[in-house]
């Protein structure tokens, strides 16, 4: 056996968490009818802000808060551009990613390799020592569990609460929602900021917990995979979780296969998470009944209240 299944599953959950956080945030944004392609930029800002603050304050918790702040700051720019100045969402999202990558690299100059505080793990070591179930269920840092709770909360919020219903109404038909008296722009801005907080938190998890270092462009397309995941999940929260684990499993497995030096070319292994994301995306999109029906009808459309 080249790969131990238990450590693989533990690694899978860790690798999946940043993407899960970013994707669940983006799902809420898209449900409100906004397409924010700047997830990669918000994640990298979260990663650098989280790392810098965690390093200086000695508190991982403050690092996570700062990561969320970094994501929100960038999301705020996007909200102003697309909701108030009515700019094209695709172009604004790309701008967010390009700007975020540059600004994060600038903030992070000189921070690579610096020390980080330890991250709180909610379960005691005794539970950790249970064979198989211990490492898989109880060995993670607190954010892993927060991400799972967040998925449940988003599912509950979107499907079982009034706020969720209003949010979806705005995403399905903004003119009708506006006519009913809902504040389309405000609701969308709130959703965009929530998405920014989630992406920033995912980025902070990446730098503070998973890699425990700051590297330029360390998100390496995780934000784009999160965007693909939302499509893959047909805009359903639980499927985002499934998709994140699938992706995490492949990413974790390919790293182990590289270390084990099996006969597969390294380039193919490096590219495998992206290739498999594309393949899954194609399978989901080509099924007309599944993909098209679930996409929010107003996704990417500009809302301008006239008259």
């Amino acid at each position: 056996m080249i790969v131990d299944p238990v450590t693989l599953i533990v690694a899978l959950i860790t690798v999946a968490t940043p993407i899960l956080l970013a994707a669940i945030g983006e799902l809420v944004v898209e449900k409100a009818g906004v397409l924010n392609l700047g997830v990669e930029g918000m994640m990298i800002m979260g990663a650098v802000c989280g790392f810098v603050v965690a390093h200086h304050s000695g508190s991982a918790f403050l690092g996570f808060v700062a990561g969320m702040g970094g994501g929100i700051a960038l999301a705020f720019l996007f909200a102003i551009l697309t909701q108030i100045l009515l700019a094209n969402q695709v172009a604004s999202g790309l701008a967010l990613t390009l700007f975020g990558l540059g600004l994060a690299a600038l903030i992070g100059v000189g921070y690579g390799g610096l020390a980080l505080p330890a991250v709180f793990r909610p379960f005691p070591d005794a539970l950790h020592d249970i064979p198989v179930a211990g490492p898989i269920l109880f060995s993670h840092s607190v954010l892993v569990y927060v991400a799972l709770i967040l998925v449940a909360a988003v599912w509950y919020g979107l499907t079982r609460t009034r706020i969720g219903l209003v949010l979806r109404a705005v995403g399905e038909n903004h003119d009708a929602a506006h006519a009913l008296g809902y504040k389309v722009v405000r609701i969308r801005i709130a959703a965009i900021l929530f998405g920014g907080a989630c992406a920033g938190l995912g980025g902070a998890f990446l730098s503070v917990v998973r890699v425990q270092n700051w590297l330029e462009a360390m998100t390496a397309g995780a934000g784009w995979i999160a965007l693909a995941l939302v499509v893959f999940a047909s805009w359903k929260p639980w499927r985002v979780l499934l998709g994140a684990w699938l992706f995490g499993g492949i990413a974790a497995l390919q790293l182990r296969l590289q270390a084990a030096e099996v006969g597969v070319p390294v380039a193919l292994l490096d590219a495998s998470p992206y290739l498999i994301t594309i393949i899954v995306l194609v399978i989901i999109s080509s099924d007309r009944s599944r993909a098209a029906l679930n996409a929010p009808a107003m996704l990417g459309r500009i809302f301008h209240a006239s008259g």
């Binding site: 100045l85 390009l98 600004l103 994060a104 499509v231 194609v282 007309r288």
Partner: protein, 361 residues
């Protein structure tokens, strides 16, 4: 209460004035950023925008660099602009650029050390083909599997980067390079090189191709039925469908052209200024070209000017790094800022700001 009122037609003054104002605002915001880094903002802006062209000390080296860097940016941006106008978002030009360079270099290296005059044309064809094939993946998937071309084209950039790494360290590595990564030098070998055509200007075949592309795109967009179809598909997709525009064919055509131009840009770069395939020979032209395309208003002449300006920020950025110790990523943030201001000012072209009393927002 301030409200926006949609203009029946975009205001021409803002269409042209917007980018100029965006550049000025970026200089101010960028100056603030440089000041926050503890540098003299006025000096930094002067070094970035003025010194590369007019300082006695640096202009000799910098001026030719302007065309060297603007060439690929313009070539790629022209291709992207056709698609962007039609609502087809190829944002993976960086990947097509890499694959074009890989295919072209592989062709040239396959015949090493021959100096046959047909080798460079062959490399060019290989580069174009590589770029087209790489762009065809998202194009065909969008047409036949309704897969989002934004995500696919972008994800393929990472796949192309993995291929580049394996080429530089494996199958294209210089056999006489004592094990160091990177291919043989194509630029220093007659037959595979893309030389400077006029000494001291930086003008190479890729720059010529960029100028030709600008003219061709201008003619297509203003004088050819294809340009009409592209504009129609972008502004009113349903009307275009009723008008007989084949949407699928348009996607394949626009993606194919942008892939071809990006692939050619990659080949010209690797056979000229970069010289060889190395792990990091690509410096993000494929992404910066997106900014160039928007800054130029998706208009060929605008892209020509925007490409020159963006090239200037690259050169000026290097100079600022050298002279003031401004970190390299600051320039990337600076370029991103420009796109923000540009998009923000677009509102002025499309809407009129009106003051209204007691209105409901």
């Amino acid at each position: 209460m301030i409200v926006l009122e949609k203009r029946p037609q975009p205001a021409q003054a803002w269409v042209i004035g917007g980018p100029v104002l965006a550049v000025l605002l970026t200089m101010i915001a960028g100056g603030a950023m440089f000041a926050a880094l503890g540098k003299d903002p006025v000096e930094a802006i002067r070094i970035i925008f003025w010194d590369p062209l007019f300082s006695e000390q640096f202009a000799g080296y910098s001026r030719p660099q302007l065309l060297v860097k603007a060439g690929p940016l313009i070539l790629i941006a022209i291709g992207l602009s056709l698609g962007f106008r039609a609502g087809i978002w190829n944002i993976g030009a960086e990947g097509q650029y890499i694959v074009g360079a890989l295919c072209g270099a592989a062709f040239g290296l396959a015949f090493w050390p021959s100096t046959h005059p047909l080798i460079f044309p062959g490399m060019l064809v290989a580069g174009l083909t590589g770029g087209v094939l790489w762009a065809m993946i998202p194009a065909l998937l969008r047409v036949y599997a309704r897969t989002n071309e934004i995500l696919v084209s972008l994800l393929l950039v990472y796949v192309a980067e993995a291929m580049l790494a394996s080429a530089a360290t494996g199958w294209l590595r210089n056999p006489e390079g004592s094990g160091f990564p990177g291919s043989r030098n194509l630029a220093r070998h007659a037959g595979t090189d893309n030389p400077e055509l006029i000494a001291g200007t930086g003008m190479h075949l890729g720059v010529v191709a960029a100028f030709v592309a600008v003219i061709a795109a201008h003619v297509i967009m203003t004088r050819h039925i294809l340009g009409y179809q592209i504009r129609l598909a972008g502004q009113a997709p349903r009307a275009a469908g009723f008008g007989g525009v084949n949407a699928g064919r348009l996607v394949i055509l626009c993606m194919g052209v942008s892939g071809a131009l990006a692939g050619a840009a990659g080949l010209f770069e690797v056979a000229g200024p970069a010289g060889r395939i190395s792990i990091d020979f690509n410096v993000g032209y494929g992404f910066t070209a997106i900014i160039v395309a928007f800054l130029g208003r998706l208009n060929p002449i605008g892209i020509l000017l925007a490409g020159l300006l963006m090239a200037l920020t690259f050169i000026g950025g290097e100079l600022a790094q050298l002279m003031l110790g401004i970190p390299a990523p600051a320039i990337q943030a600076f370029q991103g800022m420009l796109l923000f201001f540009l998009l923000a000012l677009d509102v002025m072209a499309n809407y009129r700001i009106r003051r209204k009393r007691g209105a409901l927002a």
